[in-house]
C-alpha cells in the first residue's frame, strides 16, 4: 500500500497507465546497482532515486574532485568525499523511500559477481573497457540484465543486455582494444550535458526493465551524435561463438588492458 505522501510524491508516475499503483509498488520493491557515480552515474542515480526505486547500490572508489563537478552535479558541496558516499547523501535528501547500499571501492573480478547478484538491474556507468567487460561477464554469468553506456566528446552509445536473450557486450566487442587505439576521455574531453543525456537514457532503460514495459534496447545499439543530433541504431546479433553467452566460460575473463581515465 502507498502512503498518502507516496501518492503525492509519485503522482506523475501513478497517473500513467504504464505504471499506475502496481508499477509504483514494483519500483519501490526493486533494486538497481549503479557501477560508477561519475558523469553517467550522477543523472542515472538522480532519476532512479526520484522514481522511487527502493534500493540503489552505488559502487565507486574515487573521491569527488573539482574537475568532476562540470558533469557530476549530484556531488555538489562534497569535494574530497568518496563518490558513493556523496551520492548517498544526495539520494537521502531527495527521497527517503530509497535505501542506498554504498560500495566505496572499485568493482573487481573478485567482488563483482557477489555484488551484482543482489540486484535486479545493473547500470554500467564506468569509463573504461576493463570495467565494461567485467560488468558484462559478471552480469551474463549471474543472469542480471544491465545497461551499458559510453560517451566521448559529443557522442555516446547505449545498449541493453538481457542475458540469455540478447547479444552481450562481448558478442559485439570481443575484447578491449589495445592501448593507444582509442582516445581516453582525458585526451578527448566531454560536455556534461552529453553524459547527462546518456545517463538519463540508462535510467529510463532500467525503469522499463524493472516494470517490463516498452521495448528495451536489446540486440540494438543506439549511437548518438549530439553535435549533429543524429540518433542512429545498429542491429546486433548474438555471437554463437561468444565465450560468455555460450555458457562455456563460467568465470570472469580478465582483461589485461589497463587504462587511467576518469570520466
Amino acid at each position: 500500500m502507498l502512503t498518502d505522501e507516496q501518492i503525492k510524491r509519485y503522482a506523475r508516475q501513478i497517473i500513467m497507465p504504464e505504471i499506475g499503483v502496481k508499477g509504483q509498488l514494483k519500483l519501490l520493491e526493486s533494486s538497481v546497482l549503479v557501477v560508477g557515480a561519475g558523469g553517467l552515474g550522477s543523472p542515472a542515480i538522480q532519476y532512479l532515486a526520484g522514481a522511487g526505486v527502493g534500493r540503489i547500490g552505488i559502487v565507486d572508489g574515487d573521491e569527488v574532485d573539482i574537475s568532476n563537478l562540470q558533469r557530476q552535479t549530484i556531488h555538489a558541496g562534497n569535494l574530497g568525499m568518496n563518490k558513493a558516499e556523496s551520492a548517498k547523501t544526495f539520494v537521502e535528501k531527495l527521497n527517503p523511500d530509497v535505501k542506498v547500499d554504498v560500495y566505496p571501492f572499485n568493482l573487481t573480478p573478485e567482488n563483482a559477481r557477489e555484488i551484482i547478484r543482489k540486484y535486479d538491474v545493473v547500470l554500467d556507468c564506468t569509463d573504461n573497457f576493463v570495467a565494461r567487460f567485467l560488468i558484462n561477464d559478471a552480469c551474463v554469468i549471474e543472469e542480471v540484465s544491465f545497461v551499458h553506456a559510453a560517451v566521448l566528446r559529443f557522442e555516446g552509445e547505449l545498449m541493453t543486455i538481457v542475458p540469455k536473450e540478447s547479444a552481450c557486450y562481448r558478442c559485439v566487442f570481443k575484447h578491449a582494444p589495445p592501448p593507444g587505439t582509442v582516445p581516453t576521455c582525458q585526451e578527448a574531453g566531454v560536455v556534461g550535458a552529453t553524459v547527462g543525456v546518456l545517463g538519463t537514457l540508462q535510467a529510463i532503460e532500467a525503469i522499463k526493465l524493472l516494470l517490463g514495459i516498452g521495448e528495451p534496447l536489446v540486440n540494438r545499439m543506439l549511437h548518438v551524435d549530439l553535435l549533429t543530433m543524429d540518433f542512429t541504431e545498429l542491429k546486433l546479433r548474438k555471437d554463437p561463438e561468444c565465450p560468455v553467452c555460450s555458457g562455456r566460460v563460467k568465470e570472469i575473463i580478465p582483461e589485461k588492458y589497463v587504462e587511467s581515465c576518469q570520466l
Binding site: L2, I7, K8, A11, R12, I14, I15, V21, K22
Partner: protein
C-alpha cells in the same frame, strides 16, 4: 458503494487518488467520488474512462460540490 471524499484536493491529485482507489476495488464494484475542484469534474471522468472504467453519473450536489459514480472495469 465505496465513497472517496476528495473535497479540498486539486488536479492532478483528484485523478491520482481516484485511480489509486479504483486499483483497490474489484472489477464491477462502484466508487462514488465527491469533489469541490471544478476542473476535476471534467478531467476525472475523462481520465477514468481513458483507463477503461465506466462513468455512470456526474451530478452537482451543492453550490460547489459534485458527485461522480464510477464502475470499475
Amino acid at each position: 458503494m465505496i465513497t472517496l471524499d476528495l473535497r479540498g484536493e486539486v488536479c492532478p491529485f483528484t485523478f491520482v487518488k481516484t485511480k489509486v482507489k479504483l486499483e483497490e476495488l474489484k472489477p464491477g464494484e462502484l466508487l462514488e467520488v465527491i469533489l469541490d475542484h471544478e476542473p476535476a469534474v471534467r478531467d476525472v471522468p475523462r481520465s477514468v474512462e481513458a483507463e477503461g472504467h465506466e462513468v455512470l453519473s456526474v451530478e452537482k450536489i451543492s453550490d460547489k460540490e459534485w458527485r461522480i459514480v464510477i464502475r470499475k472495469r
